[in-house]
Each structure stands twice: as C-alpha cells, then as structure tokens.
Subunit: 336 residues, 2 copies
DNA sequence: AAAACCCACTTAATCGTTTTCGTGTTTTTA
DNA sequence: TAAAAACACGAAAACGATTAAGTGGGTTTT
C-alpha cells in the first residue's frame, strides 16, 4: 500500500534518498536516515517484492519441484519431511518457496523452465520426480541454480541420502543377528532403488550370504497390497527366508498383514525390516527395524547449498552431499 | 530473458502493440497478431510475472499459512493431503502457491500480513495454526481474500470437515455394534476438538449412553506416547470401557501398544476407533474403524472458494462449506 | 586563494509490462 | 463527397523500486 513515494513526501526528500536510507547506504546523513526509518515504521511501509525483483533481478524465492507420476510429494512422508526442513532453512535466510506448477494437463501451461523464468526463481530444488522427463532435463540444463535430491546430474549439486551405507548397515545388522536367508522386496526402478539393491547384493556377497533369485522381487514403494502379495509368495517358498526387507516402512505394514494372516509372529517366526524411519514405524510395536533417513539434514543441506549457489556462485563448488541415515534396531529382527 | 521489446523490434511494431496482441485486444489486426505470436514463440518469449504484477496488481499467487506451534503442516498427514488437493486445484486455475513465512524468530521478519502484502498474494488460505495468534487475526481482518480451514472467523469464508457428523456416525456405529461403555481420549483444545467432543456427548446422550467422567481424557493429537499412557489408565479402571476412541489414527497406534502389552486382542478383548482415515490405518490389520475425512474435497473447495473470492468478489458469497467425512467400519470394533 | 575533496542529497534512467489517449488511414454513412 | 465511424497502431505515463551520475555547499589541502 504505502510506497517509498509516500515516505519521500512525508519527509520532504526524494525517493532515491528514501531508498538509500532504507538500504542503509553510506551517502545519507544519519539523522535523515533515522527520520526516514521512523516515518516508514509509522505509515507501515513495506517494500514491494515485485518492483524490487524487476530492478534487482532477485526475487528471494525458490522454486520447488516435488512431484511424482502418481502423486505430489506432499503426501509422501519422506519428501514431506525433506521439504519441511528445506522450507525452514530457506525461510530463515528470508527466501520464500513456491511450487513449480506440475499440472501437466492444463492447456497453455508452461514448462518447468518457463514457469521458473516467469516467476524469476532465484533457484530451484528438484526431488521425487521422474528425472528422465525432458522438461526436468531442460530445467536442470538451464542457467538457474539447481539442487537435486536423491539424484545426480553430472555437473550439478545434489543432496543424497546414503542408501548404500544405509542398506549395508541394515544387512550387516541382520547378519549379525544370525540371519543367512534374507529376502528383499525392493521398490520400483530408480536411482534410489539401484543404490539400495546393489548395496544389498554387495554386502551379502561380502558376508558370504547367498541370495537365491526368488528372494528378490519388486513392489511399488508405499504399496501395502503389493507388499502383501509378495510376502505371501516368499512365505510360500519351500525354502523361505528368515528375514524380509521391504521397500519402505509403509509397505512393510502390508507385509505384516500377510505374516499375521499365516499366524506367524514377528519377530519370533519371521523377521522383517523397513526403510525410512517413519514415526509410526518406530513407535508401533513391534518397533520396526529400519533405517532412519535424516530428512532434517537432507532438506537443510539442500537449502543451504542452493542459497550458497545463488549468493556466491563463484566460490560455491558443485558437489554431491551425502547424508547418512541411522539404523534403528527396533525389535522386528530376531536373534537366531 | 526475451521481453516484449525484443518482439517489438523483430516485428517492427511498438511494445504496446505487442502487449495488446499477446493479450488479444481487439484493436490489433489479425495478421499482425499472428505475426507477433509467431515471433514470440520463436524467440521463446514468456511474460514476466513481476512486471505484470506491478502493473495489474494481480500476482496469480496464493499464500498458504499451514503451521502449527510444534511443526509445519507439511508433516501432518491430514493437512498435507488438504494442501495437496488445494495445490492441484489452484494450479489448474493457473495460480501458484507460496508459503507464508512462519519462522517467527528471524530478526526483521515480517508479520503474516506484511509478508502477504510484500508478496502481493491475491489471496490466502489458513489452516492448522493457532487461530488466536494476533498476527493471524490481523491477516484475517485485512482486505486480502482469505479462506480458513477447520475454523470460522465470523465474516469470512471457511471450509470445514464435518466433525459433528463424523463423530456422531462413529458413536452411532459403535453403539449399533453393542457398545455401551465408550471412552474418548480427545485431542488438545481447539475448534475441531470442541466439535468432536460436544458431538460425542450429545450423541451419547441421545443414545442414552452414560459417560463417566473418567472415560474422558485428553492427549495431544498424533502423540503415541500420551495415547499409550491414557489407554493404560483406562484399561486399569475397575469398570473399564469396551471401546476407546482416539484423537486420530496415529495416536491410535500408541493405544494399540498399550492394549497388546496387556495381552489383549483387538477387537476381541477391546474395541478401538481412530479418526482421519489415513492410509496406514485403513490398510493395516485389524483395519481401524475410523472416519475418513475427505481431504481431496476440503482442499479443492478451499481453493475454488478462494479463487472465486478473488475473481468475482461481488458475486461470491461468504459461506462456510462443510465437507462430510465417511465412516470406515474396518474391523477394530467388535460386535458384542 | 584556487584546487581538490567530502558530504548529503537529487535527477533521471531503468526493469518489463499495461493502458489511456491520441493519430493517421481506411471504410461507411448521409 | 464531405463527415462520421471504424480500424490499427504508437507515444507516453505508470506500477515501485534501484542506482549511476550529477550538484551544490562546506572543508581541507598546498
């Protein structure tokens, strides 16, 4: 409402003086500055982001592309948590965050890049998307600073959860508890899945645990139904595993259903483990053995990196930041 | 990057003509329009939201205030789902959504209203906050169109989940299943809690179910620990209930822990019910008896109402939109 | 005492649009 | 055929800020 013009008139100075006073330039007298600040407060002046953006080419707003083929990242526990801490960190540094429109069906819509330019985002964070999407590619290749989460574009900064170490720790823990017949219902193909899966194989090999092919199967992430069915199949094998790993904690609950249906108990008759460390999983009995991903750190680092990339592009190096998770032992893996 | 100026030079017309052509004004020749549109496409022109906002006083961006004392609404399943559908609807109508900065500790931060003016939000949606906060009050009282979720400010539009009906349906179902000793661990005081609680009492009264005071206790929403302890207390009563209602599905899991700890089975030895209808609750066995809140509808209606308020303020009436939930019978309430 | 500086401002251009008035040309009307 | 109307477009101001360059006056330098 109130603009610098109003202040300038009230103080009998030029608009330029007001601007400089408010931005604390050195070529304005102390008492004038004080008077201007005073009046600004009185009439409830606040700058206008649009006008400022127009002149300075900086919006202090970050674009967020958190989208899945099936659903937005918002309802996805892991990503919601990452986004939440991203938001906190960004807000502390006075950046606002805006979602990049991902409604692909609207006629006349803009591509991700077009939208980002339209809104003049200072930077963009990408997660949870189909990284093969040409529009994502286009956005990443643009001159806009970008940080990706859980995916690496060769010359761009990324923040990654350490799925290799997470899976290794998990398998090693399970091995230590005495298990030698470990099955893994892994998630659908993606960078994350590949990391976990190869780490699973590698760790088993190191431990001299043989993994029959029928112990490995695929299910969508967060799909209790699929996990349920795959679990039934695994339990029906003539040589069933003693422990089953799931794509994530949520899917795990589908597995538990199948296990209980057979009258088996956890961990007495069969052991299970999830991934993520969601609240429910680590609070509900039997507490799930799982890997708690450090979402707070992931989101925070992503925001810090992105803002650093924006504010000091010369001195900020492109890097992949790997954030370790922490194994939560819980009680769903039995000692045998 | 490319501006109208570039187009105007390429086409040999004035900037004004370009603007009018692109906005399809009637006083520009058809062939000129076509030529301009063509060139615009070729050089990859897209408008600049900041400049446009400056002139038109419309940003096509909506502010979102989804915040809790403890945590952001993002990690709150119910609100994340509401926000998700709000976002979808808004995006379809080409509005973008930006979070209103709720980091209250940053020095020099703006109030919610100041921030909203700074960003020139066309409208604002508020949910999940402490509605007594003077800053919220200030925002609501301002001239910015606003829609609240699950809370009513007397002269403002709101979208509400029908907690009265939801609770009534739930209690009636439980009654129909034969229960007469129903306990309710309700959430912390709030508009939602009051609706549910009074509906609980009222329905019980109508059904001639007496509710001893020790059957009613309070626990924070989504707090498994508190639910656990309150459940233990209830189970320890000399005249324990046959069915326990929880603040929400998540808290319910804390109750289940306490129940299992006593060696009791659900629903054979005790019945329970949640609220919300989260994915996990309605998929995990025993499937929880709960009320599925129609988050899709809530968020969608909120967006529609807000945009309508923005685009046709004269003809849009202020109203409270009540969205009904749907009882999910599940199998956690036994027939006795 | 003239040259050189500082200080504390102001002027004016600019960012990328939109929009109100023109203005010159063509077409229609009387 | 002259006046009126319609058409197609341009000039310029405005939105609210930032900033380079300029301007007087007082102080300092030599």
């Amino acid at each position: 409402m109130a603009s610098m013009k109003d202040i300038s008139m009230a103080c009998g100075v030029s608009i330029a003086t007001v601007s400089k006073a408010l931005n604390n330039h050195k070529d304005i007298g102390e008492e004038t500055k004080e008077r201007i600040r005073q009046v600004a407060k009185e009439i409830g002046y606040f700058p206008d982001s649009a006008a400022k953006a127009l002149k300075t080419n900086r919006t202090y707003s970050l674009g967020v592309l958190f989208v899945d083929d099936s659903q937005s990242g918002l309802t996805h526990d892991y990503f919601a948590n990452v986004l939440d801490s991203f938001k906190r960190t960004a807000e502390q540094k006075s950046y606002d965050i805006t979602f990049i429109n991902c409604c692909k069906t609207r006629p006349g819509r803009m591509s991700y890049l077009e939208h980002s330019r339209y809104r003049r985002f200072d930077g963009v964070v990408i997660a949870c998307v189909n990284f093969n999407d040409p529009e994502v590619e286009e956005l990443v290749r643009s001159s806009i600073p970008v940080v990706t989460i859980d995916y690496i574009f060769n010359d761009k900064s990324a923040v990654l959860s350490d799925n290799v170490k997470g899976m290794r720790d998990l398998v090693q823990y399970i091995y230590k508890m005495g298990h030698r017949k470990i099955a893994y219902i892994h998630g659908a193909d993606s960078a994350v899945t590949r990391s976990r899966l190869s780490s699973f194989y590698k760790t088993c090999e190191e431990l001299n645990v043989t993994v029959p092919p029928e112990y490995i199967c695929e299910a969508q992430y967060r799909d209790t139904q699929e996990a349920y069915h795959k679990t039934k199949e695994l339990l029906g094998l003539k040589n069933p595993p003693t422990c089953i790993l799931y794509p994530d904690d949520f899917a795990c609950f589908g597995g538990i259903n199948a296990i209980h249906e057979r009258g088996m108990r956890i961990p007495d008759d069969i052991s299970i483990a999830g991934y993520d460390g969601t609240q429910i999983a680590i609070n509900y009995e039997p507490k799930l053995t799982t890997v708690i991903q450090d979402t707070r750190c992931l989101g925070g680092k992503a925001a810090e990196k992105l803002i650093s990339l924006i504010e000091k592009p010369k001195t900020t190096l492109t890097e992949q930041i790997v954030v370790e998770g922490k194994i939560f032992e819980g009680s769903s893996v039995a000692r045998i």
